[in-house]
């Protein structure tokens, strides 16, 4: 069985409990607005889908139906981008609670405050989240452009189909990347809990 010691963790020492770092402050402030925006995206997407279904049933203009297909994808994936952002920010909020709470407990015990330095998984979490967000939101914007172009009749069917496939590929890859970065965020929580289990015993001299 492999075991660790507290020296296996890279830490920084301060006299007082540290504040949240910038991503954690952003997490605390932004998880709820992102959550609210995701609900708007999903509601708009469903509304457009019902409208498109009626257009198909009543044999409306094919170009308009195709354009609506682009708008639906844009709305739904705007919702997904926002809900994944809300999840990521909520994870950052949890990490902030561990940082501030862990520090304040050490301070209350009249000890130096040791805090885990940002591990590689947390950096991967942030980079992955930003890349995935950019990929999905770019696809959302391009879906809207594609919808407008298709509705205007200036695009042939093959090109419209190609756009759809490219954008779908991009947003789906973005979704997998987002989930992967969320997984890295959760692993960071595992590491933080592990460090705090060591540190609280060290502070109480009960290792």
């Amino acid at each position: 069985m492999t075991t660790l010691t507290i020296d296996d963790f890279t830490t920084e020492t301060t006299a007082q409990a540290p504040d949240r770092i910038l991503p954690q402050k952003a997490g605390k402030a932004l998880w709820a607005p992102m959550f609210a925006m995701s609900l708007v995206g999903f509601a708009v997407g469903m509304g457009l889908a019902i409208a498109r279904s009626n257009m198909i049933s009543s044999g409306d203009d094919v170009l308009q139906i195709a354009a609506y297909g682009q708008y639906i994808s844009a709305a739904m994936f705007f919702g997904f981008a926002m809900v994944f952002a809300a999840i990521s920010f909520a994870i950052a909020k949890i990490l902030g609670e561990f940082r501030v709470g862990g520090g304040s407990v050490q301070e209350a015990a009249h000890s130096d405050v040791k805090t885990l330095k940002m591990p590689g998984t947390a950096k991967g979490f942030l980079i992955g989240m930003m890349m995935a967000m950019m990929i999905i939101l770019t696809a959302v914007v391009l879906h809207i452009f594609a919808g407008v172009a298709i509705a205007g009749g200036g695009v042939d069917a093959i090109l419209a189909e190609q756009w759809t496939i490219w954008l779908e590929a991009a947003r789906r890859f973005g979704t997998v990347l987002y989930l992967f970065s969320i997984m890295l965020g959760l692993i960071t929580i595992v590491k933080v809990i592990q460090f705090q289990s060591f540190r609280i015993r060290q502070v109480a001299h009960t290792e």
Binding site: W31, V83, I94, S104, A169, F180, L186, I187, A204
Partner: protein, 315 residues
């Protein structure tokens, strides 16, 4: 069965220094999922540049099946990371219990009087003993594993039907297989997300139970947060999302069996809104997960304030 599932989320030994395998398993699965997704992106690009040949539709059918497989692989990786958190939480509870026993001043009272109190983290209840486990937490501990295990089975079944779809593009068999692929795979995804939600519910249960155990062990009255509105909304969204995922599966089965699969015109209006509906099911589950994480953050804030108070004042 319940005992065997419990063993998966409790430490195999009580040594807080031991390295647990969950992070490595999660990263390994996550990388596999990411690689499948990269392969799917390449297949899609090839299909997009080859639209005028008949191969494009075949490639896209396979890509659909593989894409959902990639998504579910990464979601299972997330479930593995959450199991790692649960195991670590139990070891943390033990560490906090031992450490606070040493840090707590010898002269102390028993804490607030019994009854309801208000804290900056929400309403709480003060009891003499550890409160009983909530039914939703019991359910979460029993249900997470079946959900996480069944989800990938449906997705793999959908991957098989996507191959049938790819080999029968443009025929009634192909349309039927396409319906089965979409229905099965999105049900599978919904089940895995429900499993993740149940794991988050289990984490909330462990925080509640562990926090209470620590206070009781230190000879204090037990302060426990009441279920906040975010937790209630989490349960409602999770139930709604799971229901939508099941309904969309039923609707896909109906459209490929109950409607005329030879005439895609009859099915098309249904599938036009069922595509977003199946995504809505996942969206509701994800929205519930956001609220569960926010609840966990709030509970952690409360627990740190209790630990700080016990270390400083003894109660």
């Amino acid at each position: 069965m319940a005992v065997a599932i419990d063993k998966l989320v409790t430490p195999t030994n009580s040594d807080y220094k031991a390295v647990t395998p969950h992070p490595k398993i999660a990263v390994g699965l996550g990388i596999v999922g990411l690689m499948i997704a990269m392969a799917v992106a390449v297949i899609a690009l090839v299909a997009a540049n080859d639209l005028e040949s008949g191969n494009s539709a075949q490639l896209l059918a396979i890509a659909f099946g593989l894409q959902t497989t990639a998504l579910v692989t990464v979601k299972v990786a997330i479930a593995a990371a959450l199991v790692g958190i649960l195991v670590r939480l139990w070891l943390r509870i033990e560490s906090v219990k031992v450490a606070l026993g040493a840090l707590q001043p010898t002269e102390h009272g028993v804490g607030p009087t019994l009854g309801d109190v208000h804290t900056q983290y929400g309403d709480a209840t003060v009891t003499k003993n550890v409160p009983a486990t909530l039914p939703i937490h019991k359910m979460a501990r029993t249900m997470w594993f079946p959900m996480v295990a069944m989800g990938p089975m449906f997705v793999i079944a959908g991957l098989v039907t996507s191959i049938v779809w790819a080999n029968n593009v443009g025929t009634s068999t192909g349309i039927g297989a396409s319906g089965w692929t979409q229905g099965l795979q999105f049900l599978g995804e919904g089940l895995v997300l429900a499993g993740i939600s149940f794991l988050l519910g289990s984490i909330l249960g462990s925080l509640r139970e562990g926090g209470a155990e620590v206070q009781k062990a230190l000879g204090l009255n037990v302060i426990t947060l009441k279920m906040p509105a975010t937790a209630k909304a989490f349960v409602a969204l999770m139930a709604a999302g799971l229901m939508v995922s099941m309904v969309q599966f039923g609707l896909y089965v109906y459209t490929v069996i109950g409607l005329n699969a030879d005439s895609f015109a009859e099915i098309a209006p249904w599938w036009a809104w069922m595509g977003p509906l199946r995504e809505l099911g996942l969206a509701l589950l994800l929205a519930g997960i956001v609220l569960a994480l926010a609840t966990i953050a709030n509970v952690l804030g409360f627990q740190f304030s209790r630990i700080r108070s016990i270390a400083a004042t003894g109660e």
